[in-house]
Every structure is written in C-alpha cells, then in structure tokens.
C-alpha cells in the first residue's frame, strides 16, 4: 500500500510545481490576447462578446482552468490503474468518430455536442501517453526486447491509423513525437537517424531532382542523395559495426571513385556518373552483407537494410510524391521552393510571411494589425495564430513567445527527469515532446520552414478541444509530479 500520510490536499498544493502553472497561465493569457487581435471584427469591436471567437475562447479558458483544478485532485494511482481502460475507451471513441462525425471540410473528426464541437483526437493524446507510460513502467520492460518494442510501437501506431482514417493526417503526425520519448527510454538512435536520413534524402532529392550540373547530364538531386547515402552508410558502419577497417575502405573507395567520376564527367566527357555512384552504393551494400555473414552479426544486417533503403530512396521519392493527395504534394513542392503558387497553395504561407514581416521590430500594436484583422491570412485565429503575434507584437513579441515556450519545455523536461518512477518520467516526456512537436510544426509552417500541417499552437490557437486536451495532458502530469515524494510500495 502506498504511504498516504502526505496526501492531504494541503501537502499536494505545497508540492505542486507552481512555476509550471504560472507559465501555463501566462501562455494562455497571452494566447487569448492574440486571439482578440486575430478575431477582432470591425463591425463588432466587443472582444468579450460571446459571438466572437475571443469571447468564446474566454469561456474555454475559464473552463480549462476549472478542469485543471479538478484534475489536480485525482490521484496518480487512479491514472495508473485506469491507463489501459482509458486507452481502450479513447481508441473506441476514435473509431466511432469516423462513422458518426459529420463531414467538416473533408475531415470526419469533429463530434457536435450541443453548441460546441469536440475533436476526440485532441483528447486521445493523454490516454496514449498514459498507456505508453504504464506499459513501459512494467517490471522487466526493455526496449531491446523486440516483442515489447513492437507492442510499444503498436500503442503509438494504432491511434495514428485511426486518425488518418478520420482524414486528419496532421493530427496523426503529432503521435510521431512519442518516438522521441522512446529514444529517451533507450531506443536505439539508429532508428531516429534513419528517419532523419529519410527526410534529408527526400528534401534534397525532391528539391533538386530537376536541377542539373552545368554542362553535365547529371541531376543534382540524384547525385547528392547518392553521395549522402554513401556517407551515411559509412557512418552507420563506423558507429554500429565491429570491423574497424571496413568504414575506411568504404569511405576512401566510395568517395574516391565518386570524385574521379565527377572530374571525368566535368572535364573530359560529360556522362551521367550517377550510374557509377549507384553501383558504388550497391557495392557497399554487398560488402556489408558480406561482413554480416562473416561476423554473424545482426547489426550488419540492419546496416545493410539501411543501405538498401538509402540507395533506393531517391527513386522512391517521386513515387511517394505521386501517391500523396494533390493538396499535400503541392504544399510540399511550394515549401521546397519548386513551385510558386501565391494565389493557391502558396497563398497561406505567403500571406503569413507578409503579416509577420510587416510587424517589424515592435509590431503594430494590440488590435492594430491590418493583415490579420482584414482576413488576409486564413485560419488566422487557429493554425496561423502566430501571425497575429508577429504582426501586432513584432519581433520582440514573437521571440518572447518562443522563449517562453523554450523555458516552459525546459521546465517540463526537468520535472520529467525528477520523477521517481518510469510512469511519471515517460508520461512527462510524452507531454513535453508533444509540445515540442506542435511548436516545431506550427511555428515552422507559419514561418514557411515546415510543410503546412494543420495542427494548433498549444494555448494560443483558438479552439476548446485543443485547449482542453493540452490542459488535461499538463495537469495530469502536474499531479503526478506533486506526488513525487510519496513513496510507492
């Protein structure tokens, strides 16, 4: 039985992390003012009127605070015990949503409940985080246990699939954030690196596929991807292989021959040396397979898999692009600068950049932004709320928001690190990584750095579901943290 003597309400209040609560309140208030700016209507200047988004958000904020207070009174034990039940219920809810939700702008993720609409995907995050924490908290859990690892991945992938079926790809991608948590908990970095490498191949390959070296029939994209592939494969061999000599042979051989081929093509007879580089990659792959057989090592098998993936990546890219939906492909092409479509797919981002850029150092002042107020930026009070911050509060305000987030995230990491058990730590990191992912994608897309994926900026974007979802995520963790000194059985 847990020792209960410190679990008086007073004791809980004392050990609550008030600093985080303070950050939460600051961010929510700051967010509300931004929404006032974004949803300001010239014909209805009353910002508290319930008919405006700012008025509605005010209500959402109040209810969120009430909700947060309520969550603080629920013991960690309750979450611990009900984690899988909650997970199952939420997955069922996500499944049901697909069938009962009406079609809203192409997605089926919103359930109307009286005057408001709720998005279960926003609430599912905390249940997934809890289930993940609970599963990894079990005795004898190891990331290196393939069976357990696959189950962990399954816990993450299931809600993603369900949300993709709701046609909310953006919200589904948020669940990738959990892989960062897994990394913290001992997942091999090679997986993250593989993902990173895949993104690099994709960006470089797609961006430069139709650019050519001067006077050579060689696509810069193809050349670069193959060169990177050789370097990455060599790097993997160096990191995870037993043979010390192999990486040197591969590096010198690969780069040497590539360089010779390049020079020959550039100065003697222009030819497409990508074929030579492709051959080199295949040679390297074969070499690694040889090593795997020689050393009887699983690592070399995985490296060989990576090598095959890398080699094929460029040729897969176009196929992948073709299989994306039209609007997604256009967004990616616009983002990579391959296409300029200011009236169409590029309109949002271009107008967002104009709005932010026009803010200057100190901004135009509260409620004085013209771009956002005149609705040049679409979704300006939800996904593009950061524009309003940039326009009305300028560089100072926008940087302030980012730094505020950074401090907030840092605080969450330190709270997660001080958890006495895996449950609290994994949950804490989950919360933290979800915030990082939202911040990364949302602000990135507004600034034109990441693809336009419709996910909200926590505490800033207008919307009850997301605010409630983030509040639940955060306050469950705060309650867990408050019990850090309570000894477990």
């Amino acid at each position: 039985m847990p020792v209960q003597n410190e679990q008086t309400p007073k004791g809980i209040f004392l050990s609550l992390d008030w600093m985080t609560i303070g950050f939460y309140l600051i961010l929510v208030t700051w967010g509300w003012f931004s929404i006032c700016g974004a949803s300001y209507d010239f014909h209805n200047p009353d910002i508290l009127s319930f008919s405006t988004n700012s008025g509605k958000q005010f209500v959402w904020i109040c209810t969120s605070i009430v909700l947060g207070c309520m969550l603080i009174f629920i013991e960690k034990r309750v979450f611990d015990q009900s984690a899988f039940v909650l997970y199952t219920v939420m997955m069922l809810l996500l499944l049901v949503t697909i069938f009962i939700a009406p079609d809203t702008k192409g997605s089926r993720s919103w359930i109307p409940l009286g005057p408001v609409k709720l998005q279960p995907a926003e609430f599912a995050k905390f249940s997934v985080a809890l289930a993940l924490a609970k599963y990894m908290d079990q005795y004898g859990f190891s990331m290196l246990n393939t069976k357990q690892f696959v189950r962990v991945v399954g816990i993450i992938i299931l809600p993603m699939l369900l949300i993709v079926m709701q046609k909310e790809t953006g919200s589904a991608l948020v669940y990738l954030a959990f892989f960062l948590v897994l990394y913290r908990e001992g997942m091999t970095g090679s997986l993250l690196f593989t993902a990173f490498a895949a993104v690099v191949y994709f960006v470089v390959g797609v961006r430069f596929s139709s650019d050519f070296f001067p006077k050579m029939p060689v696509s810069i994209g193809e050349f670069s991807v193959l060169l990177l592939a050789q370097i990455f494969i060599t790097g993997m061999t160096y990191m995870y292989g037993k043979d010390r000599l192999a990486p040197q042979i591969m590096l010198l051989g690969g780069l040497g021959v590539s360089l010779l081929a390049f020079l020959f093509s550039a100065f003697v007879i222009p030819f497409n040396m990508c074929w030579i580089m492709l051959g080199l990659c295949i040679l390297q792959t074969c070499y690694i397979i040889g090593l795997a057989i020689y050393y009887q090592s699983k690592n070399y098998v995985l490296i060989a898999l990576f090598a095959i993936l890398s080699t094929g990546m460029y040729y897969v890219c176009d196929t992948v692009l073709d299989h994306l939906a039209d609007h997604q492909r256009t967004r990616i092409e616009v983002l990579l600068g391959k296409k300029e479509d200011l009236r169409g797919a590029g309109y949002n981002v271009n107008q967002a950049k104009i709005a932010i850029g026009s803010g200057g150092l100190a901004g135009k002042g509260f409620l004085k932004g013209t771009q956002t107020k005149l609705k040049y930026v679409p979704e300006q009070d939800t996904d593009f709320i950061f524009c309003t911050v940039g326009e009305e509060e300028g560089f100072i305000g926008a940087t302030g928001v980012l730094i505020m987030y950074l401090i907030f995230i840092w605080r969450l990491i330190s709270l997660a690190e001080r958890q006495p058990d895996t449950l609290g730590r994994v949950y804490g990191y989950s919360v933290c990584c979800i915030f990082i992912f939202h911040l990364f994608i949302n602000v990135g897309m507004v600034l034109g750095l990441t693809p336009v994926i419709g996910i909200p900026l926590p505490f800033f974007s207008y919307g009850g579901s997301s605010l409630w979802g983030f509040t639940i995520l955060l306050f469950i963790f705060l309650r867990m943290d408050a019990e850090r000194n309570v000894k477990r059985q």
Partner: protein
C-alpha cells in the same frame, strides 16, 4: 538531448523571425498594398471670372463609371449594355482594352479601372437605379468644365486627362486625373486644381471596405481650387471675335497702367465648349487638321512684320541716340532713294519733320534715320556696334524676347542683331538692312508685342509685363507679372511720338479712328507680305492723356492698315472706353463682322503642305468651316457665306450692310412672328455668340439669310476654288 532539440528549433525560428521582420522590407510594402485602399476625393476646380466679375468658366458634376474586374458577379450584360446604350461588341472591346496590360499598364483586377468617363447627370440617374445589380461597377464623381460664353477659347484653354508624361513629371497626378492643357487652365493649373483629398480605407482579403484606418487619422480633406479673375473684359472680347469673323489675325488690348490684357482675340477661333466632354479628342484632331489653324493663338504665337507701327519705336530710338531731333526733316520723293536702292513711299509733302512723318507714315524719313544711325562712325566704331545698340533699344521695348505673359506658350518674335547679319551676309551696310526701320525685312513681332509697344508709348516710357490674370483668389500673382520695365528712351521723346500718332488720327493715316468722345492716338501698319496681299495692322491707344487702353489689331491679308486695322481698333476702343457702341458704330461693327477675306490660296497651300489632295481638300474645307461654328445654325453659316459673296462683289461694303439692315428691319417687322419661331434656337445661340447684338439685328440676320441664300451658292464655290 530532447532539450537541445527544442533549443535548436527555437533558435532557428528566432533567426527566421529576424530575417522576416528586421532585415527584409518587402513584406511591409506588400502588407500596405494588401490592406490600404486610398480613396481619392477630388476637389472642385477653381472658377474663372472676367475683370467685371462675369462668370466665364465653372464646374458641372459628371460621373465616371469604374469597374473592378475581380468583383464582377453574375453581370447581366444585356441589361448593362442597354442601360449604357452600348452594343455588346463595344462592351467586349472595352473590357478587353482595360485588361490589356500593354495599353493599360496600371491594370489590376483588384483595383478600380475606368470603364466609361463623363456620364452626364441624366445618364447617371438612369444608371444609378440599376447600379446595385451590376456588382463590380461603381461610379466616381468628378467635375467637368462648363463655359458661360462661346468666346475666349485661346486664353481659357481646356482641361483633359493627364498623359503618362504629365504623371511622370508631377507625381501629384495619377492616371485618370484631369489637368489644364492650354491657356490659363494650364498656366494656373496649380492654383485652379486645388488639392486632392484622400480617405485611407482598410480593405479585407475579399476587397470589402472595412472602415477608415485609425478612425480617419490619416484622411485628408480636399482643398478646393482657387478662383481666377481674368483681366479680360468679356464684352470687349466678344466684340473683337465678332469683328474678326472671317478674317485671320489677332486683336490684343492692354490696360497700359497695369499691363492687364483686356482682350486677346485670335481668329479663327472656336467655341471652348467643343473641347469639353467625351468628344474632345475627336475635335482636337479635326481642328488640328484645319488649314486655318483655329487652335493656334495668333495673339501670342503668330509672328508678323509689324510694318509701319514699328516706326514709332524707331523715332524714339533715333531721338534718344541723337540721330534726329523732332525738328530734323528728311526728304522723301515718293520714297527713300540711294543709288540703285529704293524704298517706295506714297505722295506727300517733302521734306518732313518727325511729327508729320509719323502722321503720314513716311518711309523715307525712317530709312534715312536708320541709315544715319548705322553710318555714324564717330559714335559707333563699327556697324556691328551700331546694330547692337539698336537691338538693345528694341529689346528694352519688349521685342525679340518673350514678354513673359502668363500663358503656357509665347513666341519671342525676331529682332535681328549684328551676329545675325554677319551670318547672313559676307559684308553688309546700312542699306542691306534698311527695311527693318519700317517694320519689314527680318523684324517679326507678335500682336501682343505690338500692343505692348502701344502701352509703352501710352505710358511714355515703360510697360508692365502683360498678363491675363488679374487676381488669384486666396493667392498672389507672380512678381514677374507686376514688374515695371523701363525702356531706354527718355520720357520727353515719347511726347513727340504721341503727338505724331495723334496727328495720324486727326489728319493722317488713321483718320478712321477719330471720334467725338475721346482723343485717340494711332499708327497704321501695312506690312508687305511676299506670300500675298499685304497685312493690315493698327496700333493705338486712347485717350491721349491718361490712357485706358492700348491696342493692336492685325488682320492677315487685310491690305491697307486703314482698311481693317483702323476701323476695328476704333470700334474696340469705343466699346471699352464708352462701355458700349453707339448705334452708328453698331452698324459699322455688323458690317465688319460680315466683311470676310478669302484665304483660298492659303488654304490650298496649307493643305498641300499637309500632303492632302485637292478633292479631299474640298471636303475637309467644308467640314472645317462647319467645325468651329458647329453650335451655330446652318442658316447663319449660309448667311455668312452670302455676306462674303456680297463683299467679293465690288459693292461698297458699308452701304451693302446698311441696306441689308434696313431691309431686314422692315422684313423683321412684317415677319417678326414667323422669323422668331423659325429661328428660335438660332436666336439663343446668336445671343450667346454675339452678346452685344440686340434682338432686332438677330431677326434681321435671319431675313438677310433668306434674301441672299440664292446668290450664295455659285459665289462660295468660286471662293473655295
């Protein structure tokens, strides 16, 4: 690890923010383009009055139909075209033209484009009711100019849309603005136009106006243009234009004390109303092709040999330089003879001293004067020195350079100097240039400069820069317009010249200018013209003491100065000083109005110059003669031709006119009713055209027409040929 990922992301984003917000200024401009809509409010243009406060030019609202392509929705093209009385094809053509960015470089589907300009109030009232159905179309109000009189076109000028060149020169203007193009409308553009106002409006992403930016803190109210009061006397101007009908030339009258121009007639003229409204371009082209050049303001741009009127300036120069005194007499035996050189003169007593020489306009006297001046090697080392001295005198009298009148363009005329002759001749003597002393040869003056010479003599030695604007309401005239210019001749010498000019009126060449009311001084000019009949000129002023008006009348191919110049000048001075014409003068005026000169050879030559064939000529010619008179009736045109035809016959012109009048009066009494009905419209016009004519002569005119119509046809055809 996770913390550093967050850190890297935040730092990267802050750098990106710095680039967008601090380093790049493109976005700011794009934002302003997005959000601000500057709604221009046009000020009303200043009115123009004559010296007696008569309203000459004023504004009338007109409406421009604007279109914003992006906002057009479900346009009922058929209804739209019907409302605007245009065909579907015209509509399509107009839309295509607006969208053609090479012809309409400022095109944007987001902004208002001019679809049709100057819709009248009547058309607008029809359109207004339906406008709400034509989404994307809106109406912009502006003012167009209206003219109370059909006179004074050259001085008033006109207003038209700015050209790309105007916009480039002055960034006050935007495409579609209007500005003064000629006359005082142009030279006083900055006073007349006022200042545009602006409303800074906020426009949302769908182009809808969302109110004033910062509650109108950046809005500006338009400042109305300033009213101008001209120094022109519109009655005098109207009389001048009437007297010059059917003749080429100019009349300029100046108030000597102030330099104010009392009238500036250039003939042929046109009704300023022709150039208002949508038809301006067409009319400009038509008038531009007219061989008689109605658009040319001959009063300031025509350069003519001044003929004998120039002799006054010579007398003054010679006296000041001591070449002669008023007692000096020169012989003249039917002209100036020197060796084989001969400048002819008419018969008069000889030798003559200065005053009678001016009165009889003796050529010999002034040739001798110049000869002695240029040959005086004791005073001037070379003939060049002498010539330069002579030129300086001329320049001090306002010749050879622009006088600086407040009109957009002015010719400087020509006063030859020593270098001019050095270039023209290898060697030259006084005899080579002797004809400049009698206002012939190389000397060219504008009618304004001749009138200014009159003003200088009237003032006994100075002139104020002539100007047509008396007052700018709420502003001031340029100092240069009020500047007093003293000539190089002392005041005492002017007395002799005045005396000579008075003698000319009492018993010399200007006898026709004599009248019982005031003492007129005058000098005729008969300028030889190598291209045809001599030009008739008159320069004078009145009264002799305390002069109120100085005048120049110049009638091209009018033969003797006394034929047209003197009587027209006399009538003008009478009108101005007495405020009206006596009945006898009125009859004389009507007679002169109808005394036309044939310019058939000139027309032929001009048309040849323009490369037009003769058959075309005839058509052009008739179209042309209709042009300026478009507002008048066909009958009146016919009447004029009839009159001209009568004149061409060698009848005594005055008698003919008087007879016609008497007849007309009788007939008018009989047919008063019928004539009035038939000529009801015509009357109105005639009253406007010639405000000084009384109703009786008007009905009289119409009967004259009936009488002479039959005789007209063959004669006028002959004239054209």
């Amino acid at each position: 690890m996770i913390g550093s990922i967050a850190f890297v992301i935040v730092v990267a984003y802050i750098l990106r923010l710095a680039y967008l917000q601090l380093l790049s200024s493109d976005f700011k401009a794009s934002a302003d383009n997005n959000a601000f809509h500057n709604n221009i409010i046009y000020p009303s243009r200043g009115n123009i009055y004559d010296r007696n406060g008569e309203l000459l030019v004023f504004n009338q609202p007109a409406y421009d139909l604007m279109v914003t392509m992006r906002e057009i929705e479900d346009l009922d093209t058929l209804d739209f075209c019907k409302t605007l009385k245009m065909t579907r094809k015209q509509f399509d053509d107009r839309m295509a033209l607006i969208k053609n960015t090479s012809k309409n470089p400022g095109y944007s589907s987001y902004t208002q484009q001019l679809f049709m300009n100057q819709i009248s109030s009547v058309e607008y009232s029809v359109l207004q009711e339906k406008l709400f159905r034509f989404r994307g179309f809106s109406v912009r109000k502006r003012n167009i100019r209206q003219y109370a009189y059909p006179n004074l076109a050259h001085v008033l000028g006109d207003v038209a849309e700015v050209s790309p060149y105007d916009i480039e020169k002055d960034d006050y203007y935007m495409a579609g603005d209007y500005m003064g193009k000629q006359g005082v409308e142009r030279s006083y553009e900055k006073d007349l136009r006022g200042e545009k106002g602006v409303e800074v409006l906020l426009r949302d992403a769908r182009g809808r106006i969302q109110g004033h930016y910062q509650n109108g803190a950046f809005d500006r109210k338009p400042k109305p243009g300033k009213d101008l009061t001209l120094s022109i006397d519109i009655k005098l101007q109207a009389l001048g234009e009437r007297l010059m009908e059917g003749k080429l030339g100019a009349i300029v009258a100046i108030e000597p004390k102030t330099g104010e121009i009392l009238c500036m007639v250039s003939s042929p003229t046109y009704d300023p109303r022709l150039l208002e409204g949508k038809e301006r371009g067409k009319k400009m082209v038509e008038m531009g092709q007219d061989p008689l050049k109605p658009l040319l303001n001959r009063a300031v741009l025509g350069t003519y040999p001044p003929g004998s009127t120039f002799k006054t300036s010579q007398a003054l120069t010679f006296m000041q330089e001591g070449v002669i005194t008023y007692k000096t007499a020169y012989p003249c035996s039917r002209g100036f003879r020197f060796g084989r050189m001969k400048v002819g003169c008419h018969g008069h007593g000889s030798p003559l001293p200065l005053i009678p020489a001016i009165a009889t306009s003796c050529n010999g006297y002034f040739c001798w004067g110049l000869y002695h001046m240029l040959n005086d090697r004791q005073k001037y080392h070379t003939i060049q020195d002498a010539m330069t001295t002579w030129k300086d005198y001329m320049v001090s009298m306002g010749f050879g350079y622009k006088l600086g009148v407040d009109l957009p363009s002015e010719s400087r005329g020509l006063i030859p100097n020593a270098q001019f002759y050095d270039k023209a001749f290898k060697t030259w003597s006084p005899l080579s240039v002797i004809s400049i002393s009698i206002g012939q040869g190389e000397v060219l003056l504008t009618p304004l400069q001749i009138a200014n010479l009159g003003a200088t003599i009237a003032n006994r030695g100075y002139y104020i820069t002539p100007h047509v604007v008396k007052k700018v309401k709420g502003g001031a005239l340029a100092d240069s317009l009020l500047q007093k210019h003293k000539t190089k001749v002392a005041k005492e010498y002017y007395g002799y010249v005045v005396e000579g000019m008075r003698k000319a009126v009492l018993g010399g060449t200007c006898k026709g200018a004599r009248n019982p009311w005031f003492d007129t001084c005058g000098k005729t000019g008969t300028a030889q013209n190598p291209h045809g009949q001599d030009h008739s000129a008159f320069m004078g002023f009145a009264p002799k003491d305390n002069p109120q008006i100085a005048i120049c009348v110049y009638v091209e191919n009018g033969k003797w100065g006394a034929t047209y110049g003197v009587p027209i000048g006399a009538l003008m001075m009478e009108q101005y000083i007495n405020g009206k014409l006596s009945p006898a003068s009125e009859r004389k005026a009507t007679a002169f109005q109808h005394r036309h000169i044939s310019y058939a050879s000139l027309i032929k030559k001009e048309l040849k110059k323009m490369g037009k064939e003769l058959p075309v000529v005839e058509k052009k010619d008739s179209a042309k003669t209709k042009d300026p008179k478009e507002l008048k009736k066909l009958e009146e045109e016919a009447k004029k031709k009839a009159e001209a035809a009568k004149k061409a016959a060698e009848e005594a012109k005055k008698k003919a006119a008087e007879e016609a009048k008497k007849k007309a009066e009788e007939e008018a009494k009989k047919k008063a009713e019928a004539a009035k009905k038939a000529a009801e419209e015509k009357k109105r016009n005639a009253v406007q055209n010639a405000p000084t004519t009384t109703p009786v002569p008007v009905s009289n005119d119409s009967s004259v027409v009936v009488d002479s119509l039959n005789a007209v046809e063959p004669q006028s055809q002959k004239m054209r040929e």
